[in-house]
Symmetry: C2
Subunit: 93 residues, 2 copies
């Protein structure tokens, strides 16, 4: 759907996004921080750029951690399927 | 609401997020790309890191553009309010 403001909305796509973000609340927080910065009424362009660089860096770190966790879970799942009787020890935080 | 998977869902917060993303479809695309990468079943940690670095950089650029556009619109709005009879010329893309 297109409005005069060029906004579009795809319910299925938004639903998928929200589902993924519910599994990654730490990424949701970073996305919100970045969106807030883009709407910041204060700050010079240089300041905003500095804050954005810091924010996207934090996002990159969090995303990498999320990938590592998901890769670890996938590896554990693969092992469970190959050796159904093996008990996979959960890594504690 | 918390489930056993540690997922939480705050409808108001999700609604606000979607509203902001509808105004910034280019940021939505970047967020989706980053989320997809965190769930990538293929690739080594080094590859994923390289892709993530590239993706968050693109996000940073898009976010900076979004801020600049919003700052420009705000400046035009301020001018309109101060000098109601002035006609602000719209910058064409």
């Amino acid at each position: 759907m297109q409005t005069t403001h060029g906004q579009s909305s795809d319910p299925q796509r938004e639903k998928q996004l929200l589902e993924k973000l519910r599994s990654h609340p730490e990424l949701l927080e970073r996305f919100e921080a970045i969106l807030d910065l883009t709407e910041s009424p204060s700050g010079t362009a240089d300041q905003i750029e500095e804050w954005l660089v810091a924010e996207v860096r934090r996002l990159g770190n969090k995303a990498m951690q999320a990938w590592a966790q998901s890769a670890e879970e996938q590896a554990a799942e693969d092992l469970r399927q190959k050796t159904p009787r093996a008990r996979v020890r959960k890594k504690r935080p």
